[in-house]
Amino acid sequence: MPIITYREALNQALREEMARDDRVYIMGEEVGVYNGAYKVTKGLLEEFGENRVVDSPIAELGFAGIGVGSAMAGLRPVIEFMTWNFALLAIDQVVNSAAKMLYMSGGQFNVPIVFRGPNGAALQLGAQHSQAFESWLAHIPGIKVVSPGTPYDAKGLLKSAIRDDNPVVVLEGEMLYNTKGEVPDHEYLIPLGKADRKRTGTDCSIITSGKMALVAMQVADLLAKEDIHIDVIDLLTIRPMDVEAIYESVRKTQRAVVLEEGWEVCGIGAQVVDYIQRECFDHLDAPVLRVHQADVPMPYAKGLEKIAKPDVAKTIAAVKQVMYRT
C-alpha cells in the first residue's frame, strides 16, 4: 500500500471529489496560485481552473458566508480557513447560517458545505495561533465535526464530508501535514459518526481524536511493554459521536482516560466523561481521568509551551493512575 503524507491524502480527497462532482469548488486564502498556505490544494488550480479553485481576499466572514449562500443555491463548497484561529472571524456564518439554515427553514434549505483547515497548536506560534476548536464547534446542533489523525482517516473522512448534504467541519492537525501513513490506491470512504479502534486492549480505554490519536497510539505501544494493554478509541467524528464504541470499550476495560488537545473546561472530554458515567457507571473500577491542554492561553516560550500541552508522559501518568499503579 502506498505511503503518503497527511497533506497528500487531503489533496487526493479534494482532487477526487472535484473530478467526481463539478458542483464542488474550493475557496479560501491562497488556495490557488500559492497552492495553499499548507500546500493542501497543490496543483488543483492547474487541474480545475480558477472558477473552481478560488483565491479569496483575507475576509473570513465574507467568504464563509459566500460559501453558505452558494450551497443554498446548489453548489458544494469546500471553504478553507488558513487556520481555525482565523475562522473565529467567520464563526457567525458557521453557527448562525450554516448550522441553523435547515432547521429554521423547516427543512427547505440544507447547506452542503465543508469548512476545513488546520487546528490545534503547532510549535511556538503563540497564543493566537495555537488553539484547538473541537469543543467550540461540536457544541452546535446542525453541523458535523470530524478530526482525523492519520492520512488514511484524513482522506476517507474528507471525501465523506464533501459528499455529505450537511455542513461538516474538518479539523486538520496543523502538525500532521507532514506525517505519513498507508493510504490505499483504490477509492474508499470513511463513514461520518463512526469511531475507529486504533489499538486493542483490555486494561484501560483511551478515548481521543485527531492529533491526540497519535499520542494515544504511542502510549499504547509503550505501555504494552509493561504488559498494560490499552484500547484506543479514535472518535474520528466528534459530532455525531459514536457513543456505542465508547460504551463497548469502557465496559470491557472498566477504566478510561479521555485525551484531547483543547482546554479542560467544557471540553470534549467533559462530554465523553458524562456519557461514560451515565452508561457505564456500574462497570467502572476507577474515576475517569482527563488529559488536556493546561488552562492557559498558549505561551510562546518553548519550555512553557511543552508543559502546557497534553503529551505521552501525561497520558501514561493518567492511565497508571486509573489503574492504581505508580
Partner: protein
C-alpha cells in the same frame, strides 16, 4: 415644526404628489402594497392578542420598496432579506396563509413553524429567508450570486438590508467580493432612517449611504425615493438588468420610513423620533399617495379602491383564519430538520 430629520443629506426628498403609470400595472402595485399594509396591521393585532410571540418587526411604511423591486424579478431569481421580512415574502409570492401560519408558529407556516417572524423561507419562490443577525445575510447573497455565475446562469439575487447594515464588516466583505468577481447581486439598503433607535447620521460616517459603493470599482451606487413606487420600480429595473446582462452588482439605497416602532416592543414615536416627524412621513404614504394620484387621474374610481380594500381584507382574514386553525407542530418535529439524512 419640531423635527430631527436632517434634510441636508437627503437627495430624494419624498414628494406627496405622484405620477400615475399604466392603470393595470398601477393597480397591481397598489394591490401588492395594500396587501402588505393590511396584513401587517393584522399581525399587530395578533401580536397584541398573544397569537404571535417573540420579536416581530413590522414593515408598515416601507411597502413600496418590496413591491417596486420584487416586481422586476423573474420566478427563477432569488430574494434574501432581514428579520423585517413579512412584506418581502408576501410580494415574492409566499402565500399569505403560509406567512401568517408561520407567525402563529403553526405547522402550515412557510418554515413549518420553526422560523417565526424573522425566518420566513420558501423554496418554491427562491425566498432564501429572513435572517436575524444584522449583516450576516449579505455574504450569503454574494454566495448565491457566485453560484449563479459559477453555473453560467442569468438569474439575479436581490438582497434587502436595513441602513444599519452599512456599518458592519460583513457588508463590506460581501460588497468587495461581489464587485471583485462581478456577481449578479442587487444590494438594497432600505434606509428607514433608524437602526433600531439610532438615526443614520449618528451611526454612519458617510452622508449618503449609496456612496458606500464608491469603495468598489464597477459597483453603481443609486439613491431613490422609497415612498414613490414608480421610482423604485424604475431604479430597480435598471440595476437588475445590469446584474442580469452584465453580471454587475449595484448598491441601491431606497429612502423610506417605518411608520411603526422597530419591533412590537418599541413605541411608535417618543424617545428617538418625534410625532411631528412621523406625521410628516406619513403624509408621504406610498400607498395612499398612489391611490390619490390614480383617483385624481381617473385611472381608478373610489368604488374600485373600496373593492380592492375589501378583496385585500378578505385575503388577510382568510390568512388569519387559516393560521388560527393550523395545528402546532407535533413534539416529534422538535428533532426533525437538524440534519438531512441523505448523503449524495
Amino acid at each position: 415644526m419640531a423635527t430631527t430629520k436632517k434634510k441636508t443629506s437627503i437627495k430624494c426628498e419624498p414628494v406627496a404628489v405622484r405620477t400615475v403609470g399604466d392603470p393595470a400595472l398601477d393597480r397591481e402595485l397598489l394591490q401588492s402594497m395594500l396587501l402588505q399594509r393590511r396584513f401587517e396591521e393584522k399581525v399587530g393585532e395578533a401580536y397584541a392578542l398573544g397569537k404571535i410571540g417573540g420579536f416581530c418587526h413590522l414593515y408598515i411604511g416601507q411597502e413600496a420598496v418590496s413591491t417596486g423591486i420584487i416586481a422586476q424579478l423573474r420566478p427563477d431569481d432569488y430574494v434574501i432579506g432581514t428579520y423585517r421580512d413579512h412584506g418581502q415574502a408576501l410580494v415574492r409570492g409566499v402565500a399569505p396563509r403560509a406567512v401568517m401560519a408561520e407567525l402563529f408558529g403553526r405547522i402550515d407556516g412557510c418554515s413549518r413553524g420553526k422560523g417565526g417572524s424573522m425566518h420566513m423561507f420558501d423554496r418554491h419562490t427562491n425566498f432564501l429567508g429572513g435572517h436575524g443577525i444584522v449583516g450576516s445575510h449579505v455574504p450569503l447573497a454574494a454566495g448565491v450570486g457566485f453560484a449563479i455565475k459559477y453555473r453560467g446562469g442569468d438569474q439575479v439575487i436581490v438582497c434587502f438590508m436595513g441602513d444599519s447594515v452599512v456599518n458592519i464588516g460583513a457588508f463590506h466583505e460581501a460588497l468587495n467580493m461581489a464587485a471583485l468577481w462581478k456577481l449578479p447581486v442587487l444590494f438594497v439598503i432600505e434606509n428607514n432612517r433608524y437602526g433600531m433607535g439610532t438615526p443614520v447620521e449618528k451611526a454612519a460616517a458617510v452622508d449618503d449611504l449609496s456612496r458606500r459603493a464608491d469603495g468598489y470599482t464597477g459597483m453603481d451606487g443609486i439613491v431613490v425615493d422609497g415612498m414613490d413606487v414608480h421610482a423604485v420600480c424604475e431604479a430597480a429595473a435598471r440595476a437588475i438588468a445590469r446584474a442580469r446582462t452584465e453580471s454587475r452588482p449595484s448598491l441601491l439605497e431606497v429612502r423610506t420610513y417605518r411608520f411603526r416602532g422597530h419591533s412590537m416592543s418599541d413605541a411608535v414615536s417618543g424617545t428617538y423620533r418625534s410625532k411631528d416627524e412621523l406625521d410628516e412621513y406619513q403624509s408621504y404614504d406610498p400607498i395612499f399617495s398612489l391611490r390619490d394620484a390614480m383617483v385624481l387621474a381617473s385611472t381608478m374610481t373610489v368604488a374600485e379602491w373600496e373593492a380592492l380594500e375589501a378583496e385585500v381584507a378578505a385575503t388577510v382574514q382568510d390568512a388569519w383564519d387559516f393560521a388560527d386553525a393550523s395545528p402546532e407542530p407535533p413534539p416529534a418535529a422538535l428533532y426533525e430538520d437538524v440534519l438531512v439524512d441523505t448523503t449524495s
